[in-house]
Amino acid sequence: MGKTVPETIRHLIIVFGVLAVMMSIAAGLIWVERRLLGFWQDRYGPNRVGPFGILQPLADMIKVFAKEDWVPPFADRPVFILAPAIIVVTVLLAFAVVPFAPSISVADLNVGLLYFLALSSLGVYSVALGGWASDNKYALIGALRASAQMISYEVFMGLSLMGVVMLAGSFNLRAIVEAQRRLWFVVPQFFGFVIFLIAGVAETHRLPFDLPEAESELVAGFHSEYSGMKFGLFFVGEYLGITLISALIATFFFGGWLGPLLPPAVWFFIKTFFFIGVFILLRATLPRPRYDQLIRLGWKVMLPLALANLVVTGGIILAAG
C-alpha cells in the first residue's frame, strides 16, 4: 500500500531475479563442484556436455525430471514428499534478507539476522522428517545424526554472530555491511568468523561434517530411499545452503558488496564464490570425524569459544565507550 506501480514492478523483478539467479547458481554449482573436485583429484570431471561440460547440470536436470516419481510403499507418503521441499523453501526464504548490493535485496528486515537463524533452524525438519518418513534404518540413523548435529551447531552459530551484531549495533544485514566500511569484521571478529564457518559446514552437512549421509557408513543416510526429483531437491537444497552460507560469510565478515572499482553486486559474488570454493576444497581434503567427536567438538570447544568471543567483544566495546 502506498507504493507506486513502478516500485512494485521493481520489487517483483528483484524477487524473481533472486529466485532465478539462486536456482541457476545452485544448479551450476553441481558442475563447478565436480570440475573443481576433478581438478584437485587429478582427473577431468564432467567435460562432455557443451563447452567444458558446462551444460552438464542441464543434462542432469533432464535426467532427474524424466525419472519415475517413486515413493517406497512402506514410506509415510505425505511426509516423504514434503520433506525435500522444506529444505529448498527455507533456504530460498532466507535469501530474502541477503543484500546483494545497496539497492538489491528482497526484504530489508530489521531482524534480518534473527530471521536467517530461524529459517536455518526450520531446515532441520527437512532432513529429520525425510529420514523418519523413509522407514529405513540407515535413513533413520542419518536423520537422528542430522537432528543432533544441526541442533548442537545452531546454538553457537547464533552466538558467533552476536559479536558482529554488537559491532554493527543492528540485526539488519544492510546495516551490518555498511558498518564494515572502515574495517571488515573478519579482523575484530576472527574467532566469530571461524566458528561461523565451521557451524555453516555442519548446518549444510557437507564433508567433513556430512555425517547424516556418510556414504561409507550409512550408504546415503537420510536420503537413502529418495530418487528422481525428490532426491534432486535435497541435492539442490544442499547447494543452495552452501551458497547461502557463503553469501552470509561475505556479508557478516567480509564487507558484503563493499569493494573498489567493480560494481557492488560483482564484489558480492566474487566473495561468495570464493567461500563456495573453500567449501568444495574442504570436501576434497578432509576425512570425516566420528559422530561423538563432532558433538564433543561442538559443545566442549566451539560453544565456550563462542561465549568467550562474545564476552571479550562486549568488554572491549564497553571499555571503548
Binding site: L37, W40, Q41, D42, R43, K137, Y138, I141, L207, P208, D210, A214, E215, S216, E217, L218, V219, R283, A284, T285, L286, P287, R288, P289, R290, Y291, D292, Q293
Partner: protein
C-alpha cells in the same frame, strides 16, 4: 614349511619324538614332501594332543594356522597312513621356535564326528564350520556349527569326492514356487541362529544388515549388527557370497591350468597368489628353479604388494570420509600396471608364474619402466603422509580404535601386517626366506599398538620396503644364460621349453603330453606359505599321482582376519566398524575362495 631345511628337519624330529613319547601307539608319523613334521593322532586323544602342543610342549604352538580336511575315500597312494575316510588336518605354528607341526586325525564312516578345538583356539570356530560345510564332519562342542560358505539349504558337502564339481553333472536347475518359498523362508532372520543373544525386551536392539551391498564393506559381505543406538552390541559377519569353489576346481583342473584360478583368490595381489601355488607344486615335483626366475618372481610379487597396499591406502582413507586419496593412489597403481602390462601382458590377473619358472622372459626395456616407477612413487608417498597419516582427523578416527594385543592376535590366527602392527616382527620373507628373499636387504616394519592406526603405519612403511626390494631386483637381475633361463628344463616344468621339440621324437612326445594332459606330479603332500600382501597365504596340495591335484587347500589370511570383526567391534560404533574393516584390509574373494 619352506624354511631352512636343515633346521626344520632337526626341530621336526624333536616334535615327532616328543609326541611319540607322550602318546605312544596313538601317534603315527608320516613323511611329507615339504618336511613339515606330520603326525597322525588317534581320534580319542587328538584333543589332548592339540592342547598339549599349545600349552605343554616346549615349542608352544600358539597359533592354529590352518584347519581343514581331506576326503580320503578314493585316494590310491596312501601307504603307511592309518585307515581313514575323512582326515581332519590341523596345521599349527610355533613362534618361539619358528616351526610347524601338522596333526592328522582319521575319521571313519559317512557322517564322521570329531571333537571341536574351539575351547583351545577361538580361531577354530570358522575353520570347523567350513569343514562341516565342505566335508560334513561334525564337531562336538562347537558353539554354533552351521554352514559358512554355502547357502543354508544346500544339499550335500561340496568337497566330498562324490559331490559333483560342475553344473552339467547336476541335472537341470529348477526353481518351482514351493522351493522358491522354502529358500526365502530359510533366509528369514532369527537372531538366535546367528548366535546373537537377545536383549531383555524384544525392542532392545535394532538389527541392521550392513551389506551384502554396502559401500563400506568392499564387496559382498554382510555384517549383521545388533545396535543399541549407534553402539554395536554384537556384529556377526555372514560370508560366502563370493564363494566360487576354488578348492574344488583344483581337483578338476590340471596342475598347470589351475594357475589362473589362484590369481583370483586375493584379486588385488595378482601373481603374489601364483607364488605359493607354484612353489608347492615345485616342491612336489622336485623342481629347483634358477636364480633369474627367483628374482623375477620376487620383483613382480613385491610390485603387486605395492599395488595391493596402494588400493588399501586410498580406500581406507575413503572409508574414513576423505574423498581424494583414492584417486591419487589409483593413479599410482596405473603407473605400476604399466610395468605389469609390459612384462605379463595382463593387469590384475596376469597368471604369469609357471611350474618351474615364469611364462616368458622379461621384455626389453623393463628396467626403464621399473626405474620410472621407483622414482615416481616416493614423493607421492610423502604427500600421502601429509594428507592422510599426519592428518589430525584421520588420527582421532583410527588411534585406539579396534585394537588387539599381540596375544589376542596370535589366538585368532592373525598374520601379516595386522600381526606386525602389534609390535611383533614376524615376516616369513625374513623368518623363512623363500624364492631368494634371503638375498635382499629390507626391514620388517612394526607398530607399537595394534589399532587401526598401527595397522595403517605398517602397511605404509611396507610400501617403502617393497620399493627397496624391487630396486635391488632391478639392479641385480641375474642375466639370462644357459641354466639361468626363465623356466626350468626339468621334465615336469609346464609348459615345457620348446626349442628342441621339432628335432627329436621323444622331446616332441614329452612336450605334447606336457601341454595336453599337463605334467603328472608324483604322489605326496606339500604345503608352502608365503608372506602375501594381506598376511600368510599357503597352498596345501595333495597329489595322488595324477594330472590334477587330489586336494587343494588354500589357507588365506583374510579368513581369520574377518573372524576377528565381532571381537574388535563390540562396544564401538558404526563408523568405528567401518574404520576397522578398512584397516584389516581383507578381500572377499580371499575369504570365500
Amino acid at each position: 614349511m619352506n624354511g631352512p631345511a636343515a633346521m626344520n628337519e632337526n626341530t621336526g624330529k624333536t616334535v615327532i619324538s616328543e609326541l611319540m613319547g607322550k602318546f605312544g601307539s596313538a601317534a603315527t608319523p608320516q613323511e611329507t614332501r615339504d618336511g613339515v613334521p606330520t603326525v597322525w593322532i588317534e581320534k580319542g586323544r587328538a584333543h589332548e594332543a592339540l592342547r598339549y602342543l599349545k600349552t605343554g610342549s616346549e615349542s608352544r604352538f600358539r597359533m592354529l594356522y590352518d584347519l581343514t580336511a581331506i576326503d580320503e575315500r578314493v585316494r590310491a597312494n596312501r601307504a603307511g597312513q592309518p585307515e581313514s575316510d575323512f582326515t581332519v588336518v590341523y596345521h599349527l605354528l610355533s613362534y618361539d621356535k619358528n616351526e610347524d607341526v601338522r596333526i592328522k586325525v582319521a575319521l571313519k564312516g559317512d557322517s564322521p564326528e570329531a571333537r571341536s578345538v574351539t575351547d583351545i583356539w577361538p580361531a577354530a570356530n570358522w575353520y570347523e564350520r567350513e569343514v562341516w560345510d565342505m566335508f560334513g564332519v561334525r564337531f562336538d562342542g562347537h558353539p554354533n556349527l552351521r554352514r559358512i560358505l554355502m547357502p543354508p539349504t544346500w544339499k550335500g558337502h561340496p568337497l566330498r569326492k562324490d559331490h559333483p564339481a560342475r553344473a552339467t553333472e547336476m541335472g537341470p536347475f529348477r526353481l518351482p514356487d514351493e522351493r522358491s518359498e522354502e529358500e526365502q523362508m530359510a533366509l528369514k532372520f532369527h537372531p538366535e541362529e546367528w548366535g546373537i543373544k537377545p536383549g531383555v525386551r524384544e525392542a532392545d536392539y535394532m538389527f541392521l544388515n550392513l551389506g551384502p551391498h554396502h559401500p563400506g564393506t568392499h564387496g559382498l559381505l554382510r555384517i549383521i549388527l545388533a545396535l543399541d543406538g549407534e553402539e554395536i552390541v554384537d556384529a556377526v559377519p555372514d560370508i560366502g557370497f563370493h564363494h566360487r569353489g576354488a578348492e574344488k576346481m583344483g581337483e578338476r583342473q590340471s596342475w598347470h591350468t589351475y594357475i589362473p584360478y589362484t590369481d583370483r583368490i586375493d584379486y588385488l595381489a595378482g601373481v603374489l597368489n601364483n607364488l605359493p601355488y607354484v612353489l608347492a607344486v615345485e616342491k612336489l615335483a622336485g623342481i629347483e628353479v634358477g636364480d633369474r626366475v627367483k628374482v623375477i618372481r620376487v620383483m613382480l610379487s613385491e610390485l603387486f604388494r605395492i599395488e595391493s597396499h596402494l588400493v588399501w591406502y586410498g580406500t581406507f582413507a575413503q572409508d574414513l570420509g576423505a574423498l581424494s586419496p583414492v584417486f591419487y593412489t589409483f593413479y599410482d597403481r596405473e603407473r605400476m600396471f604399466e610395468i605389469i602390462e609390459a612384462v605379463c601382458g595382463g593387469r590384475m590377473h596376469p597368471s604369469w608364474f609357471r611350474i618351474g619358472g615364469v611364462a616368458q622372459d622379461l621384455p626389453r626395456g623393463w628396467d626403464g619402466l621399473v626405474k620410472n616407477f621407483l622414482d615416481w612413487l616416493p614423493h607421492r608417498l610423502a604427500e600421502y603422509d601429509r594428507i592422510i597419516m599426519k592428518n589430525k582427523m584421520f588420527k582421532v578416527r583410527t588411534q585406539g580404535v579396534g585394537a588387539y594385543t599381540l596375544d589376542e592376535a596370535m589366538e585368532w590366527g592373525v598374520t601379516g601386517p595386522n600381526l606386525r602392527a602389534c609390535g611383533f616382527e614376524w615376516d616369513w620373507r625374513k623368518k623363512r626366506p623363500y624364492s631368494g628373499y634371503e638375498w635382499f636387504d629390507f626391514e620388517v616394519p612394526t607398530a607399537p599398538v595394534g589399532d587401526c592406526y598401527g595397522r595403517a603405519v605398517v602397511r605404509v612403511e611396507e610400501i617403502r620396503q617393497s620399493m627397496r626390494i624391487v630396486r635391488q631386483c632391478m639392479e641385480n637381475m641375474p642375466p639370462p644364460a644357459p641354466g639361468r633361463e626363465y623356466k626350468s628344463r626339468r621334465p615336469l616344468a609346464a609348459p615345457p621349453l620348446k626349442e628342441k621339440t621339432m628335432l627329436d621324437i621323444e622331446t616332441l612326445i614329452n612336450h605334447f603330453l606336457g601341454v595336453s594332459w599337463g605334467p603328472v606330479i608324483p604322489p605326496g603332500e606339500a604345503a608352502v606359505g608365503v608372506e602375501a600382501a594381506k598376511g600368510n597365504n599357503s597352498y596345501y596340495l595333495v597329489s595322488d599321482g595324477g594330472t590334477a591335484s587330489y586336494r587343494t587347500r588354500i589357507r588365506t589370511p583374510s579368513f581369520p582376519h574377518m573372524q576377528t570383526i565381532p571381537f574388535l567391534s563390540r562396544g564401538l560404533t558404526i563408523p568405528d566398524l567401518i574404520a576397522i574393516l578398512g584397516s584389516i584390509d581383507f578381500i572377499l574373494a580371499d575369504i570365500d575362495r
